[in-house]
């Protein structure tokens, strides 16, 4: 256990500092002039800060539109951030130069849809070998041997490298995508909903494989999912996003046993679970507001059972809670009350 409340820099492999992403969703100029419309912006990610420690699985959960995939894209460089910093192993990541290229070899991504993320015209062997060749890691027949080894690692056969992606099932394709991610020998893998396109029995295979690989190669994962039970199974620490803001960060066990933020509590109450057979859940109120025009103050206040006047005007800062934090005034007040001598 680390010191509560502070985030030791030493063990962080990836640090996200005040990361933001704003999309311009204005109508075309002419329409704006004719309809007297103003420019409109969608804040997909608003000043998010967290650390991912070496060797852990950090999960981001949230409903659609919460910004989890946008954060993943910014980390791997598929989406330029509007503000803030991404620091990988002590080096801030900016631009495209040669240094960045060497840095980028050390992280990879696994995408949600294994039917869309593999080029249908390429043989599996070429798909997996591409990062090896791009980064010049191996040459000649060593590449082929490495591809066969990787296929073996993910539970496929070396002979499969001659085949095309369409010859494989969804689960097998996701294994190919994992082999490709491993081929540049990364330390850090961003997994964006890696199993949500798969059936449950296949999902279990992939989740087990990802855990085995983590133990074997000492990988660090950023695991993104909307499925809380999958997250519970995979993550050491969890960050909960709501409308682009990080509302809570906690250790997996703590989050599920004792969630702090009212949104996390609502989310946990809402998940249908096998253990819930026959029981009645608490009713969930309201829906996610439109992210173009989010509520003032704390974005969650219109749905929050603990709402107080301050929440409507002021965005709550991050209050430390154990090893993590919760961005909620009510949680902070309850904590202060507990701490105060009676």
């Amino acid at each position: 256990m680390s010191v509560p409340g502070c985030r030791p820099m030493a063990e962080a492999l990836l640090s996200i500092r005040n990361l933001s992403c704003v999309f311009d969703v204005s109508k075309p100029w002419l329409n704006r002039v004719i309809e007297r419309d103003e420019r409109r912006f969608l804040t997909a990610v608003a000043s998010v800060t967290f650390d991912i420690r070496r060797g852990e699985t950090f999960a981001l959960v949230g409903e659609s539109g919460s910004g989890k995939s946008t954060i993943a894209k910014m980390i791997v460089g598929l989406q330029p951030p509007s503000g803030g910093e991404i620091i990988f192993d002590g080096t801030p990541m900016r631009g495209q130069g040669g240094d960045m290229r060497r840095l980028r070899r050390r992280f990879q991504m696994i995408f949600q849809d294994p039917f869309a993320s593999l080029n249908p015209r390429w043989r599996v062997g070429d798909i997996i070998a591409e990062p090896i060749r791009t980064f010049g890691l191996l040459r000649g027949s060593a590449v082929e041997r490495e591809v066969e080894r990787l296929l073996d690692v993910v539970g496929l056969s070396g002979r499969d490298r001659e085949k095309f992606p369409h010859e494989f099932s969804g689960g097998q394709r996701q294994r190919i995508a994992i082999a490709r991610a491993l081929s540049s020998r990364p330390e850090f893998i961003v997994c964006d909903e890696p199993t949500s396109a798969l059936d449950v029995s296949v999902q279990a295979q992939i989740l087990n494989l990802m855990r085995d690989l983590q133990d074997e190669f000492g990988l660090t994962y950023l695991f993104i999912s909307h499925d809380l039970s999958v997250v519970r199974h995979m993550a050491n620490r969890i960050g909960v996003l709501y409308l682009g803001r990080l509302v809570e960060v906690a250790e997996g066990k703590t989050l599920f046993r004792d969630p702090s933020h009212p949104y996390t509590r609502m989310l946990l109450d809402a998940v249908p679970d096998l253990e819930m057979a026959g029981r009645r859940r608490r009713r969930v109120e309201g829906e996610i507001p439109n992210p173009i025009d989010p509520p003032s103050g704390c974005h969650f206040h219109p749905r929050c059972p603990l709402v107080e006047p301050r929440c409507r005007n002021e965005a709550p800062p991050e209050f430390p809670r154990g090893d993590g934090m919760a961005a909620c005034f009510a949680v902070d007040r309850a904590a202060t009350k507990e701490a105060a001598p009676t």
Binding site: S201, A204, Q205, S229, F256, M276, E287
Partner: protein, 335 residues
């Protein structure tokens, strides 16, 4: 025990293709009683949606029902003319599809669509139908229904649209609602609301629901009984608590073990090796035998018949044949 509303007996659905006939549903039998929620689960390709489509007579040609019978409240409905089936569909069997955006017409207001559906099935004036439509929207939990009824589908969020679709399915007070993945396209917090709406409405009206989904969590919370399909065949059927907590068929056991839960932590998920066979290559005997840990000679040779088990359950697995359970007559093994 309430009377049987829907009875499916030895249903077979086949799709002729260039490479031979595919059997998508192979000898499936089950009942749904009035007021009951029957969950139908299985992985993709197991035949869940086709079972639903067969019941309401919406199987896409060239697929067709080639065997078995479907009875609704005692009357056979699988051999009706398209015209007579059309009168049952919507009137006596309502349908809720997965994607609420594609099941609503974007060019018509919610009022137009609801009123049209109501007046197709019930003899009401425009005004009375409109009042009824508002009442329906109110019941499915749409706030300010009287005002929002004149909005178009794109004015509604995903969860609200799915409520509208449920209102449409309930427009003619059907006896049976078939809900095919009604919450799959929705976020968890909204999903819970939709499950509640479905459950409440069916409880209030005594309508039966056939809930098709791949999400066992949804089934656990909503269904009274659950049927597990595998490769177009019924693996197990029984009360939801028993099937989830004490599954008997090895496939169901594996399926339940492979689902992570939020209430406790398992170091490792159970995994079933391999994947479900394609319809072109279903193995002889039990369809699950190549993936089954408990496989023995009989499983490879002979297809298991559904065996009655204590507690109103049926399991299609030879493991239970030796215990002297009575085998249901009239079900032939396919090989």
């Amino acid at each position: 025990m309430a009377e049987t509303l829907l009875s499916v007996r030895n249903l077979v659905v086949e799709f002729p293709t260039r490479r031979g006939t595919l059997r998508a549903i192979d000898d499936v039998s089950f009942d749904i009683r009035r007021g009951e929620v029957l969950g139908v689960v299985g992985e993709s390709g197991a035949g869940k949606s086709i079972t639903g489509a067969a019941i309401i007579g919406l199987i896409e040609p060239p697929g067709r029902i080639t065997g078995g019978e479907i009875h609704l409240a005692g009357a056979r409905i699988d051999n009706l003319s398209p015209e007579r089936m059309r009168r049952i569909r919507g009137k006596r069997i309502g349908m809720v599809f997965q994607d609420p955006l594609t099941s609503l017409n974007p060019l018509y207001t919610i009022a137009d669509q609801l009123i049209e559906t109501i007046r197709t099935h019930i003899d009401l004036s425009e005004k009375a139908a409109r009042a009824r439509a508002i009442g329906l929207l109110d019941q499915v939990g749409i706030p300010a229904a009287a005002r929002r009824i004149d909005d178009y589908p794109h004015h509604f969020s995903g969860g609200m649209r799915q409520r509208v679709v449920i209102a449409l399915a309930l427009a003619a007070e059907p006896d049976l609602v078939i809900a095919d993945e009604p919450t799959t396209a929705l976020d968890v917090s909204v999903q819970a609301q939709i499950i509640d709406v479905l459950k409440d409405i069916c409880a209030d009206r005594g309508a039966a629901v056939m809930l098709i989904t791949h999400d066992m969590g949804v089934i656990a919370e909503t269904a009274d009984r659950v049927a597990v399909l595998y490769a177009g065949r019924l693996a197990e059927i029984g009360p939801v608590g028993d099937v989830i907590k004490a599954a008997e068929h090895p496939y169901t056991v594996g399926l339940m073990g492979s689902i992570p839960t939020i209430t406790h932590e398992a170091p490792r998920l159970t995994q079933i090796p391999g994947s479900m066979p394609r319809l072109t290559s279903i193995p002889p005997g039990c369809a699950f035998n190549p993936r089954c840990e408990k496989v023995f000679a009989r499983c490879r040779a002979e297809r298991p018949v559904p065996l009655r088990r204590p507690g109103n359950r049926e399991v299609a697995c030879w493991l239970f044949a030796e215990e002297g359970a009575d085998e249901r007559p009239g079900v032939q093994a396919h090989g």
